[in-house]
Every structure is written in structure tokens, then in C-alpha cells.
Point group: C2
Chain length 339, copies 2
């Protein structure tokens, strides 16, 4: 049995291929009768236009690529969820490429995509990546790119990220509004820009609410569980223990939670704890914790929307702008049931 294509339809109806083509695309200058005949036969024979022939002819693939470091990760899978939703609404197809934080792979993917396989690219850089030449090459080919989360500042395009400063501010404000007056910040790393921004938000929130910052309020933690817990134990059993704790990453919140249990400190009655988290862990197993979560889904949607806006205008250059989205507070997440 032969493939069913335009030629086949045309032959069976004694029409020209172009007529059939126009009938199927509902062109103005085709009689209603032939349109109906054509559509009927197309349906009957289960005709599907060959997307590659069309792409070749129209020089557009109706496909975008998403390049991310990994996918087994709540943040990135939510981002893809958002991207896919927008893509579906725009009738676009989504190709996925995982770099596993490997710069060589990332560069290979990007260079391959210069072939015209996709109309646009959404990406989050591999942590290894410092050489950006592959990205320049891509934009030179006039393929629009939108960055999210881990962005490349040197390229003029749309970048969508979380507003870490604001998130830190909001988390701290949340504690203040719940009556905390002595709030500690559990920092995970001294110099990561994320941590820096969150901490600055924390500091500014305190200042704006006229709460003095004590040297001892900022606890610099590390990968060493025991060491961290020791510091937390000291902090929480000091003469003036904090009544609020803001953990910059989830793991620290969990360690803190355990120390509180140890010391028989009631969360949130005696100590209120808020933590950044992209996992569902903290809010699920330890409902007394409040979590603040990156707006992953919205980041995906925004990034995709920006890209499609450019694609709609036939690859008008994307303007250089930073879109920063706000994290959301979750006091207690509904408990999803899985596996």
C-alpha cells in the first residue's frame, strides 16, 4: 500500500496537486464543493501532510528546542511543564536535550541546532559552561534564544529568572509579619550569587522594618551535617534564641527541624521556620515549615511566551531584557500521593 500524499489524493479526484493543497489549507479561491470532496477523501484515506516536506518548503519547523542541564529535578521538570503548555497552545513541537552539566554536550547540541531543525531555543546553561562561543554562533544564525534560570548575560535577548533578592525579602517579611523580631539566616555558601541575593533581601527586609541585625544572626553552613547541627544547637539554645529562622536551602531547614525536635522547641509556636525549597519534601513531611519555592512553571511559561512572540513576528530580534519572577510562599502543601 502506497503512502497517501497530495499526489495520491489528486489522482483519485482528477485534480491538480496544487488544487488539493489549497483545498486542504482552506484557500479562498477554491470552490466549496471541491474543498468538501478533498477533505472527505483526505479523511477517508487518513491523510496526514508530511511535516518535513512542509518544513523544507516553508523554511520553518514549528519546533523549538529546550536545552537543560537535567530533568530529574523538580525545578526543571516544572519548567518543561510550563514550556510544553505554551508550545501546545501555539501548536509547536518540543525537542528536549539534556546536557548533564556537560559543556561539550551543550555546545554540540547548540551547534547542531544551527541546521534549522528548530525555529527557536530555550535554554538554561550547564554549570560547566564558561565559553559562550556556541551561543554567539547560534544568534548569528538568527535563531532566537531565550535563557532561563542559568542565563548568559553577554547575549542580548530575553532572560527569565527568579528574583532571589525579592524572594529573600518576602520570606523575611513573612516571618516579621508573624511576629518574629529575632530572625536568623542559614546561609549555605558564602559567595553563590543566589545566596548573596537572598541574604541581601533578608537584610533589607530587616532594615525596612527597623529590626537590628546581629552578627550572630547569620549562620554560615556547609556540607557537613554534624557541624551544621552543632551550630544550630548553639544558636537555638543561646540566651536570646531566635524566634524565626530563614533557611536558604531546604537541607538546612531539615537539619534545623531536627535540632528543634531535639531541643523540644515547638515549630512554629516557639520558632517559626521558613525555607527555600523546590522539592515537596519540607512542606510534606514537616508541615510546621513554611516553604518558599521558585516559580518554575511560570518561568517556563514566560520563557516560552517570549520566544513565541518573536517567532510570531517572523524572528524579530528579541529585546535584551531581564524578567524576574517572584517565588511563592507555601505554608502547607496538599499531600500528593505517588507510587
Amino acid at each position: 500500500m502506497d503512502q497517501v500524499n497530495l499526489k495520491r489524493l489528486a489522482k483519485e479526484l482528477n485534480l491538480a496537486v496544487s488544487t488539493v493543497s489549497r483545498a486542504l489549507s482552506d484557500s479562498y479561491d477554491i470552490s466549496i464543493e471541491t474543498k468538501e470532496k478533498v477533505n472527505a477523501l483526505a479523511k477517508k484515506l487518513n491523510y496526514h501532510p508530511n511535516p518535513y516536506a512542509r518544513s523544507l518548503r516553508k523554511r520553518s519547523s514549528h519546533t523549538i528546542a529546550v536545552i537543560i542541564p537535567e530533568i530529574a529535578n523538580n525545578f526543571f521538570s516544572l519548567v518543561i511543564d510550563g514550556i510544553e503548555e505554551v508550545a501546545q497552545a501555539n501548536d509547536y513541537h518540543v525537542l528536549i536535550y539534556l546536557t548533564h552539566e556537560n559543556h561539550v554536550k551543550e555546545a554540540a547540541f547548540v551547534r547542531h541546532l544551527m541546521s534549522g531543525r528548530v525555529d527557536g531555543v530555550l535554554m538554561s546553561l550547564a554549570s560547566e559552561t564558561d565559553d559562550m562561543s556556541h551561543l554567539y554562533e547560534l544568534t548569528e544564525q538568527n535563531i532566537p534564544v531565550v535563557f532561563f534560570d542559568r542565563v548568559c548575560d553577554d547575549i542580548d535577548t530575553v532572560k527569565v529568572t527568579t528574583n532571589d533578592y525579592e524572594s529573600g525579602y518576602l520570606a523575611t517579611k513573612h516571618l516579621i509579619e508573624r511576629g518574629c523580631t529575632n530572625i536568623s539566616y542559614l546561609a549555605f555558601s558564602g559567595n553563590l550569587s543566589i545566596d548573596q541575593n537572598r541574604k541581601q533581601g533578608y537584610l533589607d527586609a530587616l532594615e525596612d522594618h527597623h529590626i537590628p541585625v546581629k552578627e550572630s544572626s547569620i549562620l554560615l553552613c556547609s556540607n557537613d551535617d554534624k557541624e551544621n547541627k552543632k551550630k544550630m544547637r548553639n544558636l537555638l539554645s543561646s540566651e536570646v534564641p531566635p524566634d524565626g529562622i530563614f533557611a536558604s536551602v531546604e537541607l538546612l531547614a531539615i537539619q534545623c527541624y531536627e535540632v528543634c525536635k531535639e531541643l523540644d522547641l515547638q515549630i512554629p509556636r516557639q520558632v517559626k521556620v521558613i525555607s527555600f525549597s523546590n522539592l515537596r519534601t519540607a512542606s510534606l513531611l514537616a508541615p510546621p515549615l513554611t516553604t518558599i519555592t521558585q516559580p518554575a512553571f511560570d518561568i517556563g511559561k514566560q520563557a516560552a511566551s517570549a520566544l513565541f512572540q518573536a517567532l510570531g513576528k517572523k524572528a524579530i530580534k528579541l529585546s535584551d531584557q531581564k524578567i524576574m519572577l517572584t517565588s511563592s510562599l507555601i505554608e502547607r502543601e496538599s499531600t500528593a500521593i505517588e507510587g
Copy 2:
């Protein structure tokens, strides 16, 4: 500036298009010199063959589609991780489609894919889906399909799933080997086939180890947190409390964990608890819990491997077979740091 294609290369080198084409594909009957010249210019001009032209000509897209219910879910994102790894190794591209459990969307995606956009399909059915006609149509077009997790039994092809029976058996055996002699099973639903299979594994493990099963050992739980905890409280404070608990879903393990805390029962010293889980939750926040996890990554790899095997043989029909993979026990997961 013009697109760089074969014609362009041919013109610049005073060669025929076909010669350039063959040189680039390293054909036998092209002199080494011209090959070198061609490759050099191709690199210099940053030539990338147009994948759509090639697909059109070769009638193969080097692309597969993955259709899944959702992605914001640890199980499915791990599956994709596995699929993508195998696809990368085979130099294939991966298109993602999310049905959000909607049968209409699923059917639309599948019907679209009959166009020849992909060489093969990997899918997990939407829970809504009971009408399988779109799947029959797909196989009629000789597009190979492999099912995973939520499979369609009526279609003769490869199906990759978790061996729930074996998983239940293993989890129970684990408790028995740790010295438990009075093991309770926390069932989540009376009739889900997953739950049924897991329970049967539990029952058979007990029988094989000559441990009698008591009526009261199986606790049928529901969506009602408080009700569940009440039942657990009864169970754990009865005259002969269980020394081992096997939770069929994570949520029940967490509820049980909390009840144990309440009753001051030490896990795992007094009660050992094992639970199914696809989240990292249980093992992260409650290290005393042992978790048993679906082999999501391997399911993805196996499904993709089976598909590529067929594609390698130019779409030889996939044999009808069920591949069942074993869950893995995790006593304590390394604590990943995120966000």
C-alpha cells in the same frame, strides 16, 4: 547573507552538488583531496545539512516521540532521563508531548504522529484512555510503539513495567530478614491492580517464610488522614503491635511515621517501616524509613532500547513481550541539595 547549503559549497569549489554530498558522507569513490577540500570549506562556512531535506529524502527522521501523562512527577522525569540517555547514544532526537491525562489530547498527538514526523513512539497511557483506536491506527501505519508503566495490553508490542508483585515480595522479605515476625501492610486502595499485586507479593513472602497472616495485619487506608492515623494508632497500640510495617504508598508511611512519634515508638528499633515511594521525601526527612522505588530510569532506558532495536532493523515489528523491572530498596538516600 545566503544560507550555506550543498549548492553554495559546490559553487565555491567548482564541483557538482552530488560530489559535495558524497564527499561529506565520506563516500568511497571520492578522492581524498576533494574530500579534504570539501570538509575544510564546510567547516569554514559553518555548514550544517538541513535535517528536514534529509528526512524527506531518506524517509526517516531520526526522531522519536515520548507521550506521557505529566512530567512534574519524579517517576516520569526519571523515565525521560533514561530515554534521553539512550536516544543521545543513538543520535536520535526526542520530542515530548504531555497529555495531562486527557484522552482527547492523547489521541490528537498520536494521530498527528502518523504523519511521519517520528520514527517511533514511546508512551504511557493517560488514565482516562479506554478507547484504543488511535493506537491501532498508529501501528497500522507501521510506526513502532513501545509502552511503559501504563500499557495497552491489546496491542502486540514491547511493554515495560515495574514488577509490583516482586516489589511487594522484596519489601516484605526485607523486613523479615531484619527480624520482623509480625508485619502489617498498609493498603491504599482495595482494587487498584498495583496495590493488588504488591499485596500479593506481601502475602506470598509471608507464606514462603512460614509467617501466618492475620486478618488484622492488612489495614485498608483512604484519603482521610485522620481516619488513617486513628487506625494506625489502634494497630500500633494493640496488645501485639506489629514489629514491621509495609506501606503501599508514601503518604501512608509518613502518617505512620507521625503516629509512631506520637506513641514514642522508635523507628526502626521497635518498628521497622518500609514504603513505596517515587519521591525523595521519605528517605530524606525520615531516615528511619526504608523506601522501595520504581526503577523509573531503567524503565526509560529499556523502553527506548527496545524501540531503537526495532528502528535499527528498519522497523521490524516489535515482538509482543512484557519486560518487568525490579524496584530497588533504599535505606537512606544521599541528601540532594536544591534551591
